[in-house]
Symmetry: D4
Subunit: 172 residues, 8 copies
C-alpha cells in the first residue's frame, strides 16, 4: 500500500509513547503502520517510573490535545500503559516489549491484567505494528476514508498469500 | 452511576459474542458495563469451532450492521476473537475466559498473540467488564456525551476509594 | 530408507498447509517424512487470519479432494489447525511453530486446547516430521504397503541406535 | 445423536487404555464419544510404570488385534501414550489428565513433546471426548457410514448453538 | 512475643497502602507484624489506577510525613508499589496479592521486574507478614530496641520448632 | 504388603525431616513407605530458615548417626533439602511440597535446580511416598532382604492393576 | 552523577556477596550503584552450598561488622539470600541471577517465596543495580546526605528522558 | 582432585544411558564426575522410544549386571528414566536435557512427576555432573573409601571459593 502523507495541519490523531529510547526499535513498527495509513501521530519517550510527573501531565491533557487513541509500549514491570489508562478516557493500546529474560511474559501480564474499570487494549508481545492497525481501526469508526484503506489492506494481505503460493516449494 | 436506558431506535452500537452459553456468566459483565453507560448492544452465541459459517457471516456483516466495536469472549484455544478480527475492519476486543485447567493462560495467549496485521484488543482474563469499558472509550471518540459519562465514571471511582477509607480498619 | 516416488496419478493423499511462507522451514520436515514413505501430498500457504475465505474453501472441499488427513502448521495465536478442524471431518494434525518469544508455548496451547467436539491431533513444537509420520500411520489403516514401510521404519530406528553405540565414547 | 449399538461380531475397532482406574472418570468421555458413533472398543487399565510388560504386550499385539487407533490417557509424567506409540504402527491418541498440582501441564508436555519418529496425537487436557472424536475421524477414512455420522454430528453442533441463542439473555 | 503498644506521639514510622479494601485480608498480616514489634503505622487504601492523583500526593509527601518505609500490596497488574517507588526515595516493599486466576504470578512479575533505578523490595506472594518484618529490619538499623526485639523474635522461632518436635508424630 | 516391624536395636536407617509441622500431612507418606518395608527411621522438624543452627548440626552429624539417606520435605523457597545436601555426603532426597499458590512449582525449582557438586535427588511434588521408595532402593544396594521386598512390591503393583481390570467398566 | 569516593575509615556500610565468581558480571552493577553514591562496601564470594560454614559465620557476624544491609546474588536453586536472612536481623536484598535455562525464573522463585518470618527483599532478575539503589534508600533513612543524593538521582533520571526526547526519531 | 583409574576387574558399578548420541554432550559430565571418583561405569545409548525392547532388557538385567545405580538422561517427553525405574529395583537418577524450545521444562516435568511407587531421583536440567555425584553418594553407603573421597571433594569446594576470593574484584 502506498504510504500517504499525513496532512500537516490540525492536531495529531494518535500518540505513541514508550518508556525508553531503547523501546523505539520495537515501537517503530507502530509508526510504520500509521504512516501506511497516512495517520498523523505524536511520538515521545514518557517513563512511568523515571518521569511520573511528565506521564501524569501527558495523560491528563491527551483528550484536549486531540488524540483519539494512545499507543504505549513498555517492558518488564510495564506500568506505562496502565497508568496512562488510569488518567485518561481515551482508548489506550499497550504493547508488551520483551527483554533479556522472560521473553515479554512479565510485560504481557503487567499490561493485560488490569483491574476492573481501567482497561488496556493489549496486543501481542513486541507487535507494535498491530497496535498501529488497532488504532487505525478505531479511527475508521468516524472516518470512512480510513475504513476504505483498511478494507484495501485486508485485500492486499490476501494477494500476498497468493504470491507466496506462486513461489513456495519444499526443499526436501 | 445511574443506568441510562439505551434509545431503542437505530442499530445496536456494540456486538457482544461468545463461544458458548456457558461463557455468559463471564460475559454478563460486558453487558453490565454497557448498560451502565446506556449503550445499545447485540448479544449472541457465535462459535468459531461449532458454527464457523455463522461466525463468518456475522463478522462480514458487522460493519454494515452498524456496530462500532465487537466484544468476543472465548476460553481454551480461543479462536473466536481472532477469527472475527480477520474478517472485519472493526476494532475487536477479546476476553480470555478461564476454564477448569490453566486458569485462562491458554485463552489469553490464543487471543493476544495474533500475527502482524490482525490485532485483537485483549483485556484481562475473565474481565469482560473492562471489555465493555474499552468499547465505551472507543465510542467516546465520536460521542461527547459518552466522554462525559466516562469522566464521571472516573470521578466515581475516586469516591469509592474515599468511602473504603472511611471504614477500613485492621482486624489484627 | 530409500525414498519412493509417489505415483503421479490420482488425488494427493495428504494436504500440508501453513500460515505463512516463513513456516516452510519447519513444515519442510513434514514433506520429508511423506517423501520417505512415497506418499503424495498437496502443499499450500493458507492463512486463517489473512485469507479466511480461502481457508474456509480449502477445508470444506478437503474430503472431496481426496485427502485422508490434513497437516496444518502455525505459530503464535495459531488458529489454522483448529479452524480447519471445525470445517472438515478429516483428521487434522497440528504443528505448533515456535517464534521469537515464548518458544512455541503460545502456539502449542492455541492448537491443543480445542473445545469438545473439534479435536486437533497435536504434535511436538516444531516437530513437523512427526506430523508426517502420524499422517502415514493413519494411511496405514487402509494400505498394508504403508504399514509394512512403517514397520521397516521402526526397525531402522533400532539399527541407528546400534550404530550410535558403535561410535559413542565419552570425551571426558 | 441417537447412540448406535456397536455390532458385536469381529474385532474391536478402537482400544482405550489408561494408567489407573482413577483415570476412568476422565476417560469415560472417550467411551461416550465412541458409543455416540456406534464404534466398538476395548477398555483396559494398562500402566506404563506398574505393568510395563503388560503394556509392552498390549502395544505389540495391537495391530493384529485389529484396532485402528489406540486412545491412551495418563497423568503426571504421562509415559503411557508415548511408550505405546514406540511399540506400534497404529495412530496413538494421547489424553493428558490433570492431577492435583500443575493442572495437567506436566502430562501435556510429557505426552506431546515426543521425539522425531514417534508421534502421539495429543488432544486437550482432560478432553477424552475429543480423543474419541479424533479416533472416529480416522475410522471415517475407510468407512463412509462413519463419515456420514461425523457430518451429521457437525450439523448437530450448529443446531445446539441455535438453541442456545433462543434462550440466552443477560442477567445484568 | 507480647505485643507492645506503639507510642502515640510523633509521626507514624511505616505506611501500609493497598489498592482496594479487599486486599486488607492479606495486608492485615503486615499490620500484625508491625504490632508485634510495637511499630506505629499508617493504613490507607490508595489505588494507582482509580486514584492516581491521591497516590501521587501520598508518595511525594511520604518522606516529610516521617515514614521510614512504605509497604504496598496489590494484585493483578500490580502497579501501586512500583509507581510509589518512582515518586519517593523511601524503601518501598511490595506484596504481590493473588487473585482468582494465575495465583499471584501476574502481580509478582508486575512488582518485582522493575526497571533500572526504581527498585521495589518484593516479598513472597500474599506474604504481607514478611513485608512487616522486612520493614522492622530496616527500622532496626537506627533503633537498637527494635534490633533487640528482632533477635528475640528469631529465638522464638527456634522455640516454636522445638515445641513442634514435642508433639509431632506420624499418623501412618 | 504386610508391614514389617523395624528392629528396635541399632541406629535408624533413614532420617525424615521437614520444615514445619504442617508439612507432616505430606511427609506422612514417606513414613508409610518406610513402614511398609520395615525400615527404621528418625522423624524431626528441622527448619532451614527458623532453626539454621539445628539444621547445620543435624546435617553434619548425619553420617555418624548411621543414616543411609535423608528425606527432606519443604515448600515455597524450599532450602532445606539443598542446605542439608551441602553439609553431608549422604544421598539427600527432596520432596517439593505444594502450598496455596504456584502448586509446588516454586518448591520444585528451589529443590531440583541445585548447582554443580551438590545434588538433591528430587521426587514429584507432594509425592513423599516416592521419597520413601527411593530411600528403600538405596538401602537395597547393601541389603538383599530389602531388594527382595522391592521385587515383591513391583509384583504387587502388577496384581493391583489386574484387580482394577476386574472391576473397571465405563459409566457412559 | 559524579562518583564520590567512599571515606576509607570505619566499617563498610553494605556487604555484597554472591555464590560464585561467575556471578560477578551481574553483581558488578550493585558495586556500580554503591560507588555512584559513595557508599563503602565489602565484596565477597560466599556460597551457601559449597561454603555453608563460611556463610554461617558471615551472616552471624554481619551486624557487629557494621553493615546496614546485605546484597546477595545467586542463580538456580538460589539459597544464599534466604539462608543469610535466616541468620541475621539485617535487611537482606536478593538478586536472582539468570542461568542458561529457565531465564532466572528458578532463582526468582527460590529467593522471593520465603516463609513467614524470614523475608528477602527481592529485586528484578539480573538487576543488581536496583539492589544497590535499594540499599542506598535504606541508608538514607539515617543519613540525610544520602537522601539528598537520591533526590538528585531522581532528577537526573528526568533529565535523561528529556535528552532522549531531543534525539528520538522514528526510522520508518 | 586427581582422577583415579577405575579398577578394570569386576562389574561396572554405575550405568549411564541416554536416549541419543546427541545427549552425550550433556551426559559427558556424569562420566567426568564418576572418573573423578575412580568409579567404573557402563555407557550406552538406549532409547525408550526407538529401542523399547533393548531398554526393556537393559533395565531387567541391571541388578544382575551388578550396577548399583543407573543414570539416565533424556530430553523432551523424557520417558527413559521413568521407564527404566518401572523395570528395575535399582535407584534411577534422571537428568532432564534441554532442547531448542522450553529450556528443559518439558523434560524436567516428564522425569520428576512420576506416579506413586516408581520414583526417579531427578537432578537439575542439564546437570549430569550432579547425577554422577549423587551416584557416588549412594556408593559411599557401602564403600568407605568413596565416602572419604566425597569428604575431600567437599573440602576442595571450600578451597575453590577461597581462591575465587583471592582474585575477585569489581570491574566498575
Amino acid at each position: 500500500m502506498k504510504k500517504t502523507k499525513p496532512t500537516s495541519s490540525g492536531p495529531k490523531r494518535i500518540a505513541i509513547v514508550m518508556g525508553s529510547e531503547s523501546d523505539l526499535k520495537v515501537m517503530n513498527d507502530a509508526v510504520g503502520a500509521l504512516k501506511e495509513f497516512g495517520i498523523s501521530f505524536h511520538l515521545e519517550v514518557v517513563s512511568a517510573h523515571r518521569t511520573p510527573k511528565k506521564m501524569y501531565e501527558f495523560a491528563l491533557s491527551a483528550v484536549e490535545n486531540g488524540y483519539q487513541a494512545i499507543i504505549a509500549g513498555a517492558g518488564g514491570a510495564a506500568h506505562l500503559p496502565g497508568m496512562i489508562a488510569s488518567l485518561t478516557t481515551l482508548p489506550v493500546i499497550g504493547v508488551p516489549i520483551s527483554q533479556k529474560n522472560l521473553q515479554g511474559m512479565d510485560s504481557l501480564l503487567s499490561i493485560v491484567q488490569m483491574p476492573k474499570g481501567v482497561p488496556v487494549a493489549t496486543v501481542a508481545i513486541d507487535n507494535a505494528y498491530n497496535a498501529g492497525i488497532l488504532a487505525v481501526s478505531i479511527l475508521a469508526n468516524s472516518d470512512s476514508s480510513v475504513r476504505s484503506k483498511l478494507e484495501k489492506f485486508k485485500t492486499l494481505q490476501i494477494e500476498r498469500v497468493a504470491e507466496m503460493n506462486k513461489k513456495i516449494k519444499p526443499t526436501k
